[in-house]
């Protein structure tokens, strides 16, 4: 396939880079792991096959072989040769077909996958593109017009789809569940009440590294700590008191205090929020988090797929 227009930001992603934190390499990978999971599941690909994460929209690609594609995630109008096609559904394409994604009407990240995944050489064990590190993808950067994305000729893929009632609905408000931890003891009761009781607005300066939030000032009794490892979803509070939820392209080590860590199920939804959306935080125990993950694995990620018969 050939990229005609890359759109705002389109990145090749697999499930992310593991085991490289000791070189300072972050994980990368899809911000919305749920939508990415369904993209590959619908295409009957091995989990974690390389797909394109399209932020905001505007991607146009030209197919040069016979295969199937699928788009999941944010509601970006999908057309093939100018004809509207539904998301969360597998569509056959042939050489010469033009696939276009418009701008998102709800949510902000969509995943465009292809049967068997894009065939990209891994870098440090993964194809995940981390622009900040200039690692992964084709050249460690976003897709550009003219980029060629190798993929196999695949015929006869089932036209699977996810029923409309089973698809996530991306809203403008979200409650993020948080396991209190890290330097939580350095946030006074008042600061914690502000954090867990306040309404925060998604800042324009949010990106794949972290979602910056604006709201009541959350004060911490220390300014910095001896730099330590940062897990996915950790919520860092710099001295300006404005929390940052650290995501896939986060730094691996840092010295700002952290109030806790968001559940991955909720960071997936957080990454679908556009600037200006509202966020609330709710504290949960590690046990509750564990149960929520197990339930998601058993139910929300395993919904029955349906097949469209021609």
């Amino acid at each position: 396939m050939t990229v005609l227009q890359p759109g705002m930001l389109s990145l090749l992603q697999d499930s992310g880079r593991r085991g490289q934190h000791r070189l300072g390499l972050t994980t990368g990978g899809p911000l919305d792991s749920e939508a990415f999971h369904y993209c590959n599941r619908l295409l009957q690909n091995p989990a974690g096959s390389t797909a394109i994460e399209v932020s905001v929209g505007g991607l146009q690609i030209l197919a040069s072989t016979e295969t199937s594609i699928c788009v999941t995630g944010a509601d970006m109008p999908l057309t093939i040769n100018g004809e509207n096609r539904p998301l969360w559904e597998v569509h056959p394409v042939s050489g010469g077909d033009i696939v276009r994604l418009g701008f998102a009407r709800a949510g902000c990240r969509a995943y465009l996958g292809v049967a068997q995944g894009f065939d990209i050489a891994p870098c440090f064990g993964s194809t995940a593109t981390v622009v900040r590190e200039r690692i992964g993808g084709l050249r460690g950067e976003g897709l550009q017009a003219g980029d060629v994305l190798p993929c196999a000729r695949v015929t006869g893929r089932k036209r699977l789809f996810l029923a409309a009632r089973d698809r996530p609905r991306y809203q403008h408000t979200l409650t993020v569940r948080v396991i209190p931890g890290y330097q939580q003891q350095h946030f006074s009761r008042l600061a914690q009440r502000r954090f867990f009781g306040g309404t925060f607005r998604v800042s324009e300066r949010s990106d794949r590294m972290g979602y910056r939030l604006e709201g009541p000032r959350v004060e911490c009794d220390i300014e910095g700590i001896l730099s330590e490892g940062i897990c996915h979803g950790a919520i860092q509070v710099p001295p300006d008191g404005q929390p940052i939820v650290l995501l896939n392209d986060r730094q691996t080590i840092g010295g700002y205090p952290k109030i806790g860590t968001a559940l991955s199920l909720d960071t997936a939804r957080l990454s679908q929020l556009a600037p200006g959306s509202s966020v609330h935080f709710a504290a949960v125990t590690p046990r509750t988090a564990q149960r929520a993950l197990a339930l998601a694995q058993r139910f929300s990620l395993q919904r029955t797929l349906q097949e469209r018969r021609p």
């Binding site: 070189l23 300072g24 991955s264």
Partner: protein, 228 residues
């Protein structure tokens, strides 16, 4: 110092082995990192050792925090601190100036020192590589002379230029690539700190010693340095 183990996320435990940057703690961190890696095997996703802590990331669908915690405690009970590994000395050239280090003058003013005194103090110390992280090839070096220690910026900069030499509290480092960052910039180093094609990808390793050497503008440019 007591050892503590805390749940910090759905797939993460933090092991604290000390509360200061020193060679003894670093040796414990290195020994614990190796032992945990062996003990957890395939259930381990990644480890992030730092100055005095090890972040343990595991697969929450295959294990839970109490099972991981039990095994980490078991392997700590038999832990033998090894002498610190590594120990080469690496010299890195730095062009110290306002045009290469946006916070140099502010840091000097805050410390009530001249710019020349700041440079003299920064180049006088041999620093230990305590941790690698934050960004690929970002080596945390300690400790800077207390007179030039400076707190992080109130809000991180959106983009710090590649090669920037910076101070945060008593830590110093070279930014290997452009990135957001909240440290005080005092100069720029023309030597690449991370080259994925090279083996090893970095000129320094944890446990090594680093000394900075002041160079002029012309040498900086001749060595391949670029100014923002």
């Amino acid at each position: 110092m007591t050892t503590t183990l805390r749940v910090v996320g759905e797939n993460a435990l933090m092991l604290y082995l000390g509360d200061s940057a020193d060679a003894v703690t670093l040796a414990r961190v290195q020994a614990a990192t190796d032992a945990i890696e062996q003990a957890l095997g395939a259930e381990l996703v990644d480890l992030v050792p730092s100055y005095a802590s090890v972040l343990i990331l595991y697969d929450p669908l295959r294990s839970d925090h109490s099972s991981i915690a039990r095994r980490v405690r078991a392997c700590l009970a038999t832990l033998q601190a090894q002498p610190l590994a590594g120990g080469r000395t690496v010299v890195l050239p730095v062009y110290y100036a306002s045009e290469s280090g946006a916070d140099l003058e502010a840091l000097a003013a805050r410390a009530q020192l001249s710019v020349e005194e700041v440079i003299a103090l920064h180049t006088a110390t041999e620093y230990r590589v305590y941790a690698i992280g934050f960004a690929p090839g970002f080596a945390y070096l300690g400790e800077v002379d207390a007179r030039i220690a400076a707190p992080r910026l109130p809000s991180p900069r959106a983009r710090v230029p590649q090669g920037s030499v910076a101070i945060a509290d008593r830590q110093t480092a070279v930014y290997p690539s452009p990135s957001p960052g909240g440290w005080n910039l005092i100069g720029c180093c023309p030597v690449p700190m991370f080259t994925p094609e090279h083996q090893p990808a970095m000129p320094v390793a944890v446990g090594d010693l680093v000394r900075f050497e002041a160079i002029g503008r012309a040498d900086f440019l001749a060595l391949g340095g670029t100014l923002p």
